[in-house]
């Protein structure tokens, strides 16, 4: 059991919208399960459009949000409701977040380096100022910055790329084994984006850090990840090796998603038109496959029956097209 770094088992998160009696339920994350091996560090991507439950999943793993059902275990320990402060601290030391917008992560009226020193203090990593300096400097070095560059600076004095690096350095202070990066490059300039993305693969290779990379940018996801999970309205619809999923996608949604990625190629312009989703809430509350309305190969069964998880060509697909019981499908 202890060989698994992180194990997410059938996790469900339901949000209530509106009042107690009139409100509706919204399943933000629906029955998601996956495992991360502790021996082999990897970069695991969760991709999908807005409102697909990527961030909710990340918040649950970070312990910011309790799951409605299911269980999340870290190194064999259930972490869904830790009560003791020491245990929580221990867990938070191991799993650290990096947020989307570096300009919002940092308080504009506070100096950037104070966050670094505070983190070092909070986790009892260093007592004296000198010790803290050493810890902070080490973390900054691993992201390619020096203490001189960030000391006594306010967030507006640094560029987006530098701030996001500082944000990564802050997470690295506790020497975590799992980083949860929620859209870490979407607010960083195009010319600096790749330096942050490269940073993650360097961290994986040099410091054995596993990264849970949450993004809607499939091009950078392909560039750094080892495995990918495609999410749609709370469901993981396709999950597997990056090359297999992205180069030969099976689920119709993955196919649409991949076709929609604008390629930086002056020749490769789109020829045909696509259908856009009408209303988000409608799709969330759908009984069968959530892609039914937009799917080019939708069948009768897709409307009412939730598709099963099928293992095919080295990846998990949640689609009726690939379920083995063909007869059953036709009967329905």
């Amino acid at each position: 059991m202890s060989r698994k770094l992180l194990e997410v088992k059938n996790v469900v998160k339901i949000f209530h919208i509106g009042g107690r009696f009139l409100g509706t339920k919204l399943k933000a994350v629906n029955n998601v399960s996956f495992e991360i091996d502790s021996e082999k560090p990897e970069i695991l991507t969760f991709a999908g459009e807005t409102g697909s439950g990527k961030t909710t999943l990340a918040r649950m793993i970070l312990g910011l949000e309790p799951p409605t059902l299911g269980e999340i275990t870290y190194k064999g320990k259930n972490v869904t409701n830790i009560k003791k402060r020491e245990e929580l601290l221990e867990y938070m030391k191991e799993v650290q977040p990096i947020f989307q917008n570096p300009f919002e992560t940092f308080n504009p009226l506070r100096k950037v380096d104070s966050y670094l020193f505070e983190t070092a203090g909070n986790y009892n990593l260093a007592k004296t100022r000198k010790e803290k300096m050493k810890v902070v400097e080490e973390a900054l070095k691993s992201v390619g910055l020096t203490l001189n560059e960030v000391q006594d600076r306010y967030p507006n004095e640094l560029s987006g790329g530098q701030l996001q690096r500082t944000s990564v350095a802050r997470a690295l202070i506790t020497r975590p084994s799992l980083l949860i990066a929620d859209e870490p490059v979407s607010m960083v300039d195009a010319s600096l984006r790749m330096s942050i993305v490269n940073l993650f693969s360097d961290l994986k290779n040099d410091y054995n850090v596993t990264v849970l990379y949450i993004t809607h940018d499939l091009a950078t996801a392909y560039y750094i990840s080892d495995r990918i999970a495609i999410m749609l309205r709370g469901d993981v619809v396709e999950f597997g090796d990056i090359d297999k999923v992205m180069l030969s996608p099976l689920h119709p949604y993955t196919q649409v998603l991949l076709k929609s990625v604008p390629q930086p190629d002056p020749e490769g312009t789109w020829k045909e038109d696509i259908k856009l989703s009408s209303l988000e809430v409608k799709e969330f509350s759908r009984l069968g496959c959530k892609f039914y309305e937009r799917c080019p190969s939708a069948m009768k069964i897709c409307k009412d029956v939730e598709p099963p998880n099928v293992f095919k060509n080295g990846r998990d697909v949640k689609c009726h097209l690939y379920s083995q019981k063909l007869e059953e499908r036709e009967e329905a």
């Binding site: 459009e49 807005t50 409102g51 560029s159 987006g160 790329g161 530098q162 979407s186 300039d189 195009a190 010319s191 600096l192 984006r193 790749m194 330096s195 993305v197 490269n198 809607h216 499939l218 091009a219 950078t220 392909y222 560039y223 992205m246 180069l247 649409v256 998603l257 991949l258 929609s260 990625v261 604008p262 390629q263 930086p264 190629d265 002056p266 020749e267 490769g268 312009t269 789109w270 038109d273 696509i274 856009l276 989703s277 009408s278 209303l279 988000e280």
Partner: protein
């Protein structure tokens, strides 16, 4: 005559507080033109002055933004004028009717406490006086249908629509009066890929059928590759390269454009890509000479002291870089001038 000609345009944000004077040189001596029925993409990182340029081209100038020099000349349908000299009613006639704008961040453009219908009514009423309610109601519904949006949009509040729907509504609002030229400021940023594609689809349809000229600003080069015909690359308040799309993607000349194109990840190719070294400069205190020289691997002495001008390198390919200026006659002249002075 081009539809839009910009000459030596400079616009700074000038602030004077607590005895400290600060100039932010967001648009610095820019000269370029846009032909009729053309889609031009404007690329560059955030804080390089893209949005300020758009504001000046639309004559939305509020302090601390000030025009220091230059002209913004429009010419279409036998009309010819410098937008910066127009005032009051004249200006209002031109804005939105002929020169329209898709603002950045559709989240905050629409009034959250008014139904979309009311916002549309406001726009039409302000520009088409004397028409009956039925007439503009018809215009509104036809336009919404034409763009493939459901009619329920009109009777919704902005919060009831998804991000993509809201962005498409904003585009509908900007194009309802059939403008000559549309400035779109980051129309696809913060949208998902599938929705993004829908928005681009809509812009292309408008361009094809209404024959609008467009200037699309975004930092996403992949979007430019799919929409624009000509691409201008902006760096620290200056345009450093303008070229045909294909030319810019296959053979970028300016070192900054080279970094921009090379760093793009592609699906199916895992080769390691690197970003431009260093950090973007502050426009309040830009580097001397060529503004890219502190980050440029080919920087020479001349780059530190003199700013290169945007010169014609080839037909439809203009570059502002000393690396190329000596290859053309005009560039030779500039280099000679520089050496003499």
């Amino acid at each position: 005559m081009s539809l839009l000609e910009v000459e030596n345009l400079s616009a700074y944000y000038i602030t004077h507080a607590y005895g400290i004077k600060r100039d932010v040189r967001a648009v610095d001596n820019i000269t370029f033109s846009i032909e009729e029925n053309e889609i031009v993409g404007l690329a560059g990182e955030s804080g390089c002055g893209k949005s300020t340029l758009i504001k000046v081209l639309l004559a939305i100038i509020k302090p601390p933004l000030r025009i220091l020099s230059g002209q913004v000349n429009y010419s279409y349908d036998d009309k010819k004028f410098n937008l910066l000299t127009l005032e009051g009613k004249q200006l209002r006639r031109v804005q939105w009717e002929d020169i329209s704008y898709i603002p950045q961040g559709s989240m905050s453009t629409l009034n959250p406490v008014r139904k979309i219908r009311k916002t549309f009514e406001d726009v039409i009423k302000a520009h088409k006086r004397g028409e009956s309610k039925e007439e503009y109601e018809k215009l509104m519904e036809e336009h919404i249908k034409y763009l493939g949006l459901p009619l329920e949009v009109l009777d919704s509040y902005p919060h009831q629509l998804s991000g993509g729907m809201r962005q498409r509504t904003t585009i509908a609002l900007a194009t309802i009066l059939r403008p000559k030229i549309i400035f779109a400021d980051e129309p696809t940023t913060a949208l998902d890929v599938v929705v993004q594609r829908g928005v681009i689809q809509m812009l292309k349809k408008l361009h094809k059928e209404q024959k609008n000229t467009m200037l699309i600003v975004t930092h996403d080069m992949a979007v430019h590759a799919n929409v624009a015909e000509k691409i201008a690359v902006m760096y620290a308040g200056k345009i450093v390269e303008i070229a045909e799309k294909k030319e810019l993607f296959t053979d970028p000349k300016h070192p900054y454009s080279q970094f921009l194109i090379q760093s793009l990840p592609r699906i199916g190719d895992k080769k390691r890509r690197t970003s431009a070294p260093g950090n973007p400069p502050s426009l309040a205190n830009p580097p001397s000479g060529c503004r890219f020289h502190p980050r440029c691997p080919y920087a020479k002495d001349v780059c530190k002291n003199y700013a290169p001008k945007l010169i014609k390198y080839e037909e439809f390919h203009n570059i502002a870089c000393f690396l190329y200026s000596s290859e053309t006659e005009e560039g030779e002249k500039i280099v000679q001038e520089v050496i003499r002075s």
